[in-house]
Symmetry: C2
Subunit: 238 residues, 2 copies
């Protein structure tokens, strides 16, 4: 197991800047030497977005009221729009979408199963945490793609807005029932391991290269700091 | 129970025209005297589209391969686009979307539960049959709305394409496994009752008016004829 994996929290307190984009723009490092071939990248990323969609549509079905169903349905539509843009990029690269996605289906479905959550609150928290973390990750990983594919992927992953709507749903749920906090905090901490393993499974690692771990380390430290900020904004100790 | 309900098939063989639009354009009758108030119509129709979305997203999750997941995800996106257009129309009518949808949630969820299907094949067949039938129905029911609302609803329900993609998925599944035919034919026949009850629950009926039944009768006869054609195109005896 890589050293980043043992550190499920950053060693220093997370910055308290309100704008995450400002915070990350300054320090952002990427993973370009570990980016897999374009077909592997696109197939994995598209398959993962299908499971994001499935995760959110479960949450739509289990939502207690129309307001939450509506907000989650729009979030599900955003993941689908990103998925369709990724599939379009696969087509632009003259690759077959089904063929490049199929090898990743089992892995992402197993990930979905492990992070599904036992009830609606956990499902929404899972979607927020795992989609947030993995989207940040995949944007960095895209740095190593050829320029045209990279631009297509970045454009796809920027479509719509997920962070804020999912945050708002969880925030409201906690406001209505403050006792949720401690359970969701535990659940979100529990998600980090599976989410990092899912991210790691996308890296083109060289078994014998120490430098790989050196490249991974700062990226995962940043991703975990963003994860911590995401939970801090909900009042959940990460 | 209305007399149309006892006739779960048309008494004469269904027309064999390949284009359903041509067939219905000639005979189309509507339900304008039984259309409920605009807020009730829009709330019910929007809530129903959320369940269409849920039905299709279950089918995405259970689809055996990427190709079917992809096609069903796009169909789910179409139902969401229609839903969002209906919610936008609710806004244009200066109504509150949550308030007008909430009263219909339980009924449509019960309908969804009854028509869910035991496996993936039944789920896709349910989506095809119930969405097809109820969309035809709701377009006719819209005839009784004030003109501006009617146009908004017709525009919403015309968005994207569902009939053909769902047909293609079932057709392929049957081609791969011809023994499915008889089970799906039974299942689709079984769906008609619940689907007609769901449609009937949207009508503004007057308990003591014989003329209501006289208006319903030819419309349901046509809807059932379309249902039969939908199944005929799949080689399923309706």
């Amino acid at each position: 197991m890589a050293s980043w994996f043992r550190r499920s929290r950053p060693r220093t307190p997370a910055p308290t800047l309100t704008s995450r984009d400002t915070a990350t723009a300054a320090t952002r490092v990427d993973l370009h030497e570990l980016t897999p071939a374009t077909d592997v990248f696109l197939g994995h990323c598209a398959a993962l977005h299908l499971t994001f969609f499935e995760q959110l549509s479960h949450a739509v079905a289990n939502a207690p009221r129309v307001a939450e169903k509506d907000a989650l349905a729009r979030a599900a539509a955003t993941t689908l729009a990103r998925y369709e843009a990724l599939v379009a990029e696969i087509g632009r690269q003259r690759l077959d979408a089904t063929a490049v996605m199929e090898p990743h289906l089992r892995g992402v479905q197993e990930f979905e199963r492990r992070t599904m959550g036992a009830d609606w609150h956990e499902q929404v928290a899972s979607a927020h945490v795992t989609i947030g973390f993995l989207t940040d990750f995949w944007v960095r990983l895209a740095a190593g793609l050829p320029r045209d594919a990279r631009e297509g992927v970045e454009e796809a992953l920027r479509r719509g807005e997920l962070e804020q709507p999912l945050h708002a749903i969880i925030e409201q749920a906690i406001a209505a029932n403050p006792r949720l906090s401690s359970r969701l905090a535990l659940w979100c901490r529990r998600l980090v391991g599976d989410t990092m393993l899912q991210a790691r499974s996308a890296l083109a690692l060289h078994a014998d290269r120490v430098r790989d771990e050196e490249q991974i380390e700062p990226v995962f430290t940043e991703l975990i700091a963003e994860h911590t900020r995401r939970l801090d904004r909900l009042g959940l100790t990460a």
